[in-house]
């Protein structure tokens, strides 16, 4: 499902960085719509993040995930968007994560704003981040079941209650009762 186009033009500075990352971490780079994207294996993400920060990408703009359900391996892509303020560059890294026990090492020790972003991914996708200092739900209530942004999670609806089946539906309705 992930779209890979042919390599076109790339900023010179970025090209050097990308080539280094490709060589060191076995990453595959692609460029679409002027955006450079690297696919990096999960176990190398921490080292890669450290490397990327060393190359002057001071800002982890965002971190998100995409669910390719029902595809299982990889089911998720975790996407990191880096910004270099000093060189005015952007770089994307994608990490494929399997659907069974999805987990990744945390990068919150390198980019501290990854802390909440990873909590959000745990909350919304159920992707576990090993070594995270505070992996709790962040947006949903603490006792929520399921991970809402997964594709197999329904958008949600409320069963209409009529007089003849009011009690019956009320019993299984997931809201706080008196």
């Amino acid at each position: 499902m992930y779209f890979v186009a042919e390599r076109a033009f790339m900023d010179k500075k970025l090209q050097i960085i990308v080539q280094k990352l490709e060589k060191e971490f076995g990453a595959t780079a692609s460029e679409t719509r002027d955006e450079v994207s690297l696919v990096i294996p999960a176990e190398k993400i921490v080292a890669a993040c450290r490397q990327v920060q060393g190359h002057g990408f001071e800002l982890l703009s965002t971190m998100t995930a995409v669910d390719y359900w029902p595809q299982e391996n990889p089911r998720f892509h975790v996407v990191y968007e880096f910004t270099s303020v000093s060189q005015n560059l952007r770089l994307e890294m994608r990490v494929p994560v399997p659907g069974v026990n999805p987990s990744l090492p945390t990068v919150s020790g390198i980019y501290r704003n990854a802390n909440w972003r990873e909590r959000e991914l745990w909350d919304m996708f159920g992707i576990c981040f090993e070594g995270h200092p505070d992996l709790r739900r962040i947006l949903m209530p603490a006792d929520w079941e399921g991970h809402p942004l997964r594709k197999d999670y329904p958008l949600g609806y409320e069963e209409p209650q009529f007089t003849f089946n009011f009690e019956e539906i009320d019993l299984r309705k997931p809201y706080a009762k008196e």
Binding site: M1, F3, A5, T32, R33, E35, S37, E58, L59, L60, S61, T62, T64, V66, D67, V79, E81, T83, V85, N88, R90, E92, Y111, R112, N113, N115, W116, M124, P133, D134, R137, I138, L139, M140, P141, A142, P148, L149, Y153, L155, G156, A176, K177, E178
Partner: protein
């Protein structure tokens, strides 16, 4: 009713200091219904007397599931929800979303539409900063600025209403251009605002900038360094107040921002007062952009004529069979975007507002992610508020300028 969960130190051992566990410091809830948390933000404070030892934000009270909802709607219909994210920067949200969709499907925008986009986005920036100025001043007990700020904001909302029919939730900027052209009175209204506003900013500054009470509450409070700010993903005026001139309008221009002359105001101090100065200066710079844009406002269409992606104007539907077919196709099935993903960001009043959009080739976005600036800015707040007084914490929350709709999405 389920039992109300009591906050115990045991659940939060990893977040509070050793002294809280021994009972030397006090845990105190601030919010989610507190007037100076600017919405439904809950802060769990660990206090040593009046001093904040730890500040643990708890968010999610305004979570609306917009990202999930957008996946179930076509590209055009999903846009309506973007206004509700950062409800003080509605034009900026629709602009960010439209730019992302345009990048995804490779759509050109007519020049007139681009210029009007810039005018409205900058007016919205001023309106947002006015809300911030009013409420942040109110937090440090400067009541009168609040009333003046809302008076001027009303003028901007009137202009938005004139264009779109809505004061706040405009959805005026659409992928491929604008919903419709601006009305005839638009130019006069904006000119009127340009004439009045500089004097009004002087008035706010006369009330606050050299006011000894305001200085006492803001100078040297909530300091953060550039390195820390970047590491926490802080962007926008908060980052610029640490001395780094990072502004996406300059660095990665969109919608023709490269044609306008404006400064990126910075301050080296990184405290609450610096953030105040940067934002006030930004209002003046935004007005400069509005004036330049209005002077060069060209005539022409305001919507792309690529009817595969943009609905044809109403007038054509009555006379053109093709236009009718396009209209029908677009409002029932929607358009198919090519496979792939884009990340596009704009400079919102709060910082980098980014949209990650992924398409699987169908008429609905496969994944929409909003990189909202308040989310990351709020994360840096505990660092700024270490060791300050509770009263100063209020000033810091105000200066970070969070919008909870933006944080919780």
């Amino acid at each position: 009713m389920p039992d109300i969960q009591e906050v115990t130190v045991d659940d939060l051992k990893h977040l509070v200091s050793e002294r809280a566990i021994q009972g030397e410091t006090v845990l105190l809830n601030m919010g989610p219904q507190h007037p100076s948390t600017h919405g439904v933000l809950r802060l769990l404070l660990e206090l040593d007397g009046e001093i904040v030892v730890n500040c643990i934000p708890d968010i999610g009270f305004l979570h609306t599931g917009i990202e999930k909802n957008m996946e179930a709607k076509t590209y055009q219909k999903a846009e309506v929800m973007t206004d509700r994210l950062d409800y003080l920067n509605t034009v900026g949200n629709t602009l960010a979303y439209s730019l992302a969709v345009e990048k995804l499907v490779d759509l050109d925008v007519p020049v007139r539409a681009q210029v009007i986009r810039v005018i409205l986005a900058e007016l919205q920036r001023i309106a947002s900063h006015l809300i911030w100025l009013g409420t942040a001043a109110l937090d440090v007990a400067a009541m009168s600025a609040f009333l003046y700020c809302f008076r001027e904001r009303e003028m901007i909302l009137d202009i938005l209403e004139m264009c779109s029919g809505q004061r706040m939730m405009t959805t005026y900027i659409r992928p491929g251009g604008l919903w419709r052209d601006v009305p005839v009175e638009f130019e006069q209204a904006v000119r009127n605002f340009i004439k009045i506003f500089p004097k009004r900013v002087d008035q706010y500054e006369a009330l606050l900038t050299r006011n000894p009470l305001f200085l006492d509450r803001t100078l040297g409070i909530g300091k953060i360094t550039t390195e820390d700010a970047l590491n926490f993903g802080m962007t926008g005026p908060g980052l610029r107040a640490t001395g780094l001139a990072w502004d996406l309008r300059k660095a990665q221009p969109y919608s023709g921002y490269e044609q306008y002359e404006f400064q990126v105001p910075t301050r080296p101090e990184g405290d609450v007062y610096a953030r105040y100065l940067v934002r006030v200066q930004e209002m003046r710079e935004a007005l400069k952009i509005v004036e330049q844009a209005l002077d060069k406002l060209p005539l022409g269409p305001v919507r792309s004529s690529n009817y595969k992606f943009v609905p044809p104007p109403r007038s054509e539907i009555g006379v053109s069979m093709e236009a009718l077919i396009h209209h029908f196709k677009l409002w029932t099935e929607g358009f198919n975007a090519p496979k792939g993903s884009v990340y596009s960001a704009v400079e919102s009043p709060r910082g980098e507002l980014g949209v990650y959009l992924e398409s699987d080739g169908g008429p609905k976005p496969y994944r929409v992610h909003w990189r909202t600036p308040s989310f990351d800015n709020l994360q840096a707040m505990p660092l700024m508020s270490k060791g300050v007084l509770v009263a100063d914490l209020v000033a810091i929350i105000g200066s970070v300028d969070i919008v909870l709709g933006d944080v919780d999405r």
